[in-house]
């Protein structure tokens, strides 16, 4: 750091109360109380409705909205819009400085945002996981023994909502933000401030969801079904605001990713040379962009029902709860693929590196990703098979749902054929990728039972469907999330994780995961419903087995956490620039990557997966320096 920079450094108090996370929390809490106060002034106890139920949803919503506003202002998100309102010109960068402080505020460096996402999502993943441990602790007994039924429902709801909401950005947040610009030869995302905003909105959302316990929780699970939604106490408001903020974050994240990949690819990086991970990001971003607005709209309707007394979902007033189910699942099923597709992309990106072979069927893999994207919008009513929909609609939705197995199969084929006769290296990232094949196969096959009307009637709402979606989402997303962490952490931090601890983490997690969720298929077939605190005594042994396995699964996360902290804070073994021998562009840069990414924009001259080709040309070279073209 230069001497001039040291001289202008502000005093400690100014740094503490500048635009940063501390100020944001203070203004967020202040905004909450201001909204709460205004809400009571606007409505107050004079309105009979609120007097009757002793609950003022308008106050709660206003509190959340002004709280989020204060939080963002505290982070510094108000400065730029205020300058623009006064006619000052646009800019792209903010606080791209060095030091730890940049991780606790608005920063437009995509690499900082990636690491913010990794830590932020990790925190809420940990909270969601703790909820799961509590759920399994309760289910150690056939009758409730720790939590009363209402609290149990809130636990289940918080676990599901936290995981489904926060993990939508589980791979795009940390890894796409960090690596997509590097993979396409760009120096930044298309809209860096929006990139930062998506992260902080997600953090605000996570904090808001945890406040539901102060208002009595919510009884609906992650789906927020009506009419329970409308009848629930104030904790439901936290659910609505949480998911709406997640939806806004998802939508903006998708917009930013697509704009970046469409407009900022380096010269020579044609669509047919685009890394498959970027294709997965494009496919997921399309879903983010188009499905999340429907979620925001349906939650806006739910909010209006709870505050302005509209009757969108109130059958006795001219509305219909089925309207909620339809609109929610127009978002909700693409949401499943928003979680799954990045996992596909990670696997296909990593397999060639560790099999030392080109990706088999690149175009088929791309077709698979885009095919899933398209079909995912045409299947939502399979969630309503037992809700009383028109029976004539069932065959179409059964067929469209089963059709999705075809493009999904493309991904499987491409992955397996890439492995075929490859020189496989069983590194930790590769182990997690291989586990994906096993887990997702079971998840996918069990999904056929749920898409098929006759078997869905039997299994819907049981632990069978719970086991199915944990196999697809945890087995598909979370395993690949860890594959990505072990693969890219050396590039992100400059340090390598301990290999032995990584393998211990993998094997404990893989075995415990299967030991936890495979028996739940049987539990479901034997009749145990989801979201119910008690169950028949003859299912006691299976539930005990599952709970103990779940605790071991939770313990495997502690192994990872230990490895992460030990390797990055204590061992600090420097990682080589390209430890895996990858040909991808991000690995051609030093570790960690400099703030400006590339000195000169690269020109892409080769295929991304030319492994095994002797004497092949490099995939990228710096562009020739233009005469007088440097700034």
């Amino acid at each position: 750091m230069s001497a001039a920079a040291v001289e202008i450094r502000p005093p400690v108090w100014r740094r503490l109360f500048g635009f940063n996370a501390l100020t944001a929390v203070l203004l967020g809490v202040g905004g909450w109380y201001l909204g709460w106060f205004i809400g009571h002034q606007v409505t107050g106890p004079s309105i009979d409705y609120f007097g009757d139920i002793d609950q003022n949803d308008i106050s709660i919503f206003l509190g959340y909205f002004l709280g989020v506003g204060g939080f963002l202002i505290g982070l510094g998100f108000g400065v730029y819009p205020w300058a623009r309102l006064r006619g000052y010109p646009p800019s792209l960068r903010e606080k791209e400085t060095e030091g730890v402080g940049r991780y606790f505020g608005l920063c437009t460096d995509h690499k900082v945002v990636g690491i913010q996402y990794l830590c932020g999502i990790g925190l809420f993943f940990f909270i969601g996981g703790l909820n799961a441990m509590l759920i399994r602790a309760e289910l150690l007994s056939p009758t409730n023994h720790i939590f009363p039924p209402g609290q149990y429902l809130t636990l289940v709801g918080m676990h599901g909502t936290m995981m489904m909401g926060m993990m939508t950005s589980g791979i795009l947040g940390p890894f796409a933000n960090y690596f997509v610009p590097l993979m396409i030869g760009a120096r930044r995302m298309a809209f860096p401030r929006i990139e930062s905003l998506t992260f902080w909105l997600l953090m605000a959302a996570g904090a808001i969801l945890t406040t539901t316990i102060f208002f009595g929780g919510f009884p609906t699970g992650w789906t927020g079904y009506e009419p329970l939604n409308d009848q629930a106490n104030g904790g439901m408001d936290a659910y609505i605001v949480f998911f709406a903020l997640v939806g806004i974050s998802m939508c903006l994240l998708g917009l930013n990713m697509i704009a970046t990949i469409v407009t900022m690819r380096a010269p020579g990086l044609t669509w047919s040379r685009l890394p498959i991970f970027c294709w997965g990001v494009v496919a997921t971003s399309i879903l983010n962009l188009l499905a999340a607005p429907v979620l925001i709209a349906v939650l806006a309707m739910a909010m209006l029902d709870r505050t302005a007394q509209t009757v969108f979902f109130n059958a006795s007033g001219g509305g219909s709860p089925y309207l909620y189910q339809n609109l929610f699942w127009v978002f909700g099923h693409p949401e499943v693929y928003i979680l799954a597709l990045p996992g596909f992309a990670i696997v296909l990106e990593l397999l060639p590196v560790f099999a030392r072979k080109p990706l088999w069927g690149y175009r088929l893999a791309v077709a698979g990703l885009l095919g899933v994207t398209l079909l995912s919008f045409l299947v939502w009513q399979h969630h309503l098979f037992v809700s009383g929909i028109n029976a004539d609609l069932r065959p179409f939705y059964m067929l469209s749902t089963e059709l999705i197995s075809i493009p999904t199969g493309f991904t499987f084929i491409c992955g397996l054929m890439t492995l075929w006769r490859g020189q496989i290296r069983f590194t930790v990232p590769m182990l997690f990728c291989l586990a994906w094949f096993f887990n997702f196969l079971i998840g996918g096959l069990s999904g056929v039972f749920l898409s098929d009307v006759p078997s869905d009637v039997t299994t819907h709402g049981s632990f069978f469907s719970m086991a199915h979606f944990h196999y697809t989402i945890m087995g598909g997303l979370v395993f690949t999330f860890f594959a990505a962490i072990y693969y890219w952490i050396p590039k992100m931090t400059g340090f390598q994780l301990n290999e032995l601890l990584g393998k211990i983490h993998f094997w404990v997690m893989f075995l415990a995961f299967n030991s936890t969720f495979a028996p739940l298929f049987a539990v479901g077939f034997l009749g145990q419903p989801r979201r119910v605190v008690s169950y028949p005594a003859h299912l006691h042994f299976l539930n005990e087995w599952v709970s103990v396995s779940a605790f071991v699964l939770g313990a495997s996360m502690l192994v990872f956490l230990y490895n992460f902290v030990y390797s990055l804070l204590f061992a600090r073994i420097p990682a080589p620039a390209n430890p895996w021998g990858s040909l991808s562009l991000e690995w051609q840069l030093p570790s960690p990557v400099p703030v400006h990414d590339f000195d000169r924009l690269p020109v892409i001259s080769g295929e991304p997966y030319a492994y095994g080709e002797q004497g092949g040309p490099p995939i990228a070279a710096p562009a020739p320096a233009p005469a007088g073209g440097m700034s």
């Binding site: 000052y88 697509i258 309707m301 209006l304 000195d599 710096p622």
Partner: protein, 226 residues
Amino acid sequence: MSSLADHGTEYGVVESEPPELLGRNLNSAAHLLASATAFFFLAFVFAYFYLRSLDNDHLWRPKHVDPSLTLGTLVMALTVASAVIVRLGLDDHRSGRRAQWRLKGAVALAAGVVAVVLQVVEWTTVGFGPADGGYASVFVGWTAFNVFFIVGTLVWLENLVATSIRYREIPSGAPAPGHASGDPGRMGHDIFDPLSLVRQGLEALSFYWTFLAGLGVVAWVILYLA
């Protein structure tokens, strides 16, 4: 060590991005935002036809639920007029008539604000409440969020008009290179010419504002005429 980047490199020799990049980003974003907006309002279109077809307890639209066609038409017409004026302002800007663009921009802004005010007037005089059946709920929700999107777009328009007015004395010809991510130290301002992005911003805004006005026409047909 790769030749693509090096810690030891002086930021002073970092190459600039292509100057047309910022405009391309804005243009892409406007189209993507329009797609997202369409899906948002599709939820209200779905709600309208779904609840109308169900007509639970014949409460879809009781007889007294009848919003003012005059006010609704005025709101829609002003929105469309504002979008058309912005488009004409864009033509002025392309032709170098910057003073005319500033005037048209201000007029378009005023038309948009009047549309919002008239919508508020309609809500306060509409003669039915949000609880008066399915139609009333859809009407309140759809118009409320339509106004929300209109206000957001007007803020965007205001930014462009304000920048054009603030820097009205600066002669600006063709868009100057946006030195995005390329300046030494990455601490200074990164776009040299403050007016260089007005044109691209205006093109993106004009597209989105026209799209939103089109959605306003669809809303007017469904909510007032259907």
